[in-house]
């Protein structure tokens, strides 16, 4: 033990060096983005690394004053909240049904959901575009909501199913004997018990939905219907030289998720890793 301990000690400085270099590599792009968003254009060219010589809030001012970005932000917020709410509600109902409904049909329903884990929804883009045209949803912000819900359900049902199956069933049995209806049991017993799993499900759906470019890009062309990330794609065409504005928008579009992440990093890491592994 003592010998190998020494070997490890010698490797310690290298470990710190590796981790520190990567820390710089991760933080530097974020630093560049934020710090330059407060600079004047010429100062960005002169010194893209340092703190601003003169503080320029103009980038942020133009974002908030007569620009479509507050609208895009709102659109993204609405899409994310509605999609998450529906995924959590529908997903937990279906998972509960699959656990408690003892029949062959429920097994097949569960397998049908789980099959969705293996297929990226992008494969269906061609037909989804046609469906949106048929439903008259093309060019509306809400067109992406059903797609996000459908995309999130397989993994959410899978995760919640596993979780509900692990719950002690005496609780619901007792309620059943008392004559409580299944929906009451779902609402007052199941939902409170699965809250931790619901949080995980919310996290691994939140990040891909908020950050998604693909579906807004193919469904939405109308200006005021864009989501924030789709709106960001317009920056380079229109404000070709206004770097402080571009960087202000980029910084602002990361802020909500980064703040959430930093405030509960552990849950994010666990949730997103679970999401990737199982998904």
């Amino acid at each position: 033990m003592a010998g190998s301990g020494k070997v490890r000690d010698r490797s310690k400085p290298f470990k710190y060096v590796i981790l520190s270099v990567w820390t710089v590599l991760v933080l530097f792009p974020l630093w560049t983005m934020v710090v330059n968003s407060f600079k004047f254009k010429n100062d960005i060219y002169l010194d893209p690394f340092g703190l601003p010589i003169a503080l320029n809030l103009g980038g942020y001012a133009t974002v908030f004053k007569d620009s479509p970005f507050p609208r895009y932000f709102l659109n993204s917020f609405v899409v994310t909240v509605i999609s998450l709410a529906l995924i959590l509600f529908f997903g937990s109902l279906a998972a509960y049904s699959c656990v408690r409904w003892k029949s062959r049909a429920s097994k097949w329903i569960y397998l049908f959901f789980v099959a969705g884990l293996t297929v990226p929804i992008k494969i269906g883009s061609v037909n989804l575009l046609q469906i949106m045209i048929k439903l008259g949803l093309l060019d509306t912000t809400l067109s992406v909501v059903p797609v996000y819900v459908a995309m999130g359900l397989p993994l959410s049902v899978f995760t919640l199913y596993e979780f509900i199956r692990g719950l002690p069933m005496e609780l619901t049995e007792a309620a059943l004997i008392d004559g409580t209806g299944p929906f009451r049991i779902y609402r007052s017993i199941i939902v409170p018990l699965v809250k931790p799993a619901l949080a995980t499900v919310a996290i691994f759906n939140l990040v891909p939905i908020w950050n998604d470019l693909w579906f807004p890009l193919i469904f939405i062309r109308k200006d005021d219907q864009r989501t924030l990330i789709l709106g960001v794609t317009r920056l380079f065409g229109e404000y070709q030289t206004d770097w402080s504005k571009i960087l202000a928008v980029l910084s602002l579009s990361c802020v909500p998720v980064i703040l959430l992440y930093l405030s509960m990093a552990k849950q994010f890491i666990a949730g997103l890793t679970a999401g990737a592994v199982k998904g």
């Binding site: 470990k15 560049t32 509600f89 293996t118 269906g124 046609q130 059943l176 004997i177 299944p182 990040v207």
Partner: protein, 322 residues
């Protein structure tokens, strides 16, 4: 009493109603469109409606029509290169970090974990734009830095040169996602019982031998999952190229991937006509679908078989998100 349990608990109509909302949305907006898109690859038409059955016509055009097939095979090859680079860099980095962070305790471990995972939470589009600024040939931070330390010969137009552009994009992608394999490998390594190492150390095994003989074999199932995830992610990649280079995969199509090629043919329409060829697009996604399917089966074969239970999960759980 027993009867009331039966009556309420087993009434199938209630349970069906519980499953119905999820079932309806999932069927209408995922299961059906995916299957239908595969079917639509046998159809042709103008604009957004596909009404003419053409058999394998779209595939024949995709593989043999001189203009189309050249672009297709180029994108197909680029996607493999993109996958190869990301796979190697991102997952080696991930494994290295995981080994460091599960080894002898270091100071501020939690801090490093948090940092390593930050890029995973960011939008690919935003990181793509930020790296594009850093790699800007005139005033990008990278070339300024290289010039300052006396390596001005290396201050190249990284994204403008067909020889370096794709590699740069793959590295940015690796930068963004490295946190994912890191955390998966950490989870795998932490599950290995500590007494395995102790007895190996008593036997005089060094760090490298402990890694090769104990750690690596035990995390093989996770290597499989990570490989499949990287594979699926890269064959669906679009955002990073769109942000850093644009939908045409410049310079000279050197960064054109399956994702951007599909976007141009099936969704946006080729310049200068701008009318999408959705049947051809459906054929592109069908090819992607079967490539993914084959790749997953292969990964399952390679890493799943010898590792028992946990290995089986590669097939059923590892296919990743769009």
């Amino acid at each position: 009493m027993k009867r009331s349990v039966r009556k309420r608990g087993d009434s199938w109509i209630v349970w069906l109603l519980f499953a119905l909302p999820a079932l309806a949305v999932y069927t209408a907006f995922m299961a059906y469109p995916v299957i239908n898109s595969l079917r639509l690859s046998f159809y042709s038409g103008s604009g957004y409606s596909l009404d003419k059955f053409v058999g394998f016509g779209n595939y024949v055009r995709l593989f043999t029509d001189s203009g189309i097939s050249q672009r297709f095979w180029c994108a197909f090859g680029n996607t493999w290169v993109f996958f190869g680079i990301t796979m190697l860099v991102q997952n080696t980095i991930g494994l290295l970090f995981a080994l460091i962070l599960t080894g002898k305790p270091l100071r501020a471990q939690g801090f490093y974990r948090t940092i390593i995972f930050i890029p995973v939470t960011l939008s690919v589009l935003v990181t793509g734009y930020v790296w594009k600024l850093i790699l800007n040939p005139q005033w990008g931070a990278l070339n300024i830095f290289l010039t300052k330390i006396g390596l001005s010969s290396l201050a190249l137009p990284w994204l403008g040169d067909p020889r370096t552009a794709l590699a740069c994009i793959a590295l940015v992608s690796a930068w963004q996602w490295a946190g994912m394999p890191t955390m998966m490998f950490i989870a795998g390594l932490e599950r290995i019982p500590g007494d395995l190492f102790e007895s190996a150390q008593i036997d005089g095994a060094g760090i490298w031998r402990i890694f090769a003989r104990i750690k690596l074999p035990l995390i093989m199932p996770i290597v499989g999952i990570v490989s499949v995830l990287t594979f699926v992610g890269n064959f669906n990649a679009f955002d990073v190229v769109y942000a850093m280079e644009g939908a045409n995969g410049p310079p000279n199509y050197s960064t054109d991937l399956m994702g951007t090629f599909f976007y141009r043919t099936g969704i946006a329409g080729q310049h200068p006509i701008g009318i999408p060829d959705m049947g051809l697009g459906a054929a592109v996604t069908t090819v992607t679908f079967f490539v993914l399917f084959a790749g997953i089966l292969l990964a399952n074969r390679l890493t799943g078989e010898r590792s028992g239970d946990s290995g089986k999960s590669v097939a059923s759980r590892g296919e990743g998100r769009a």
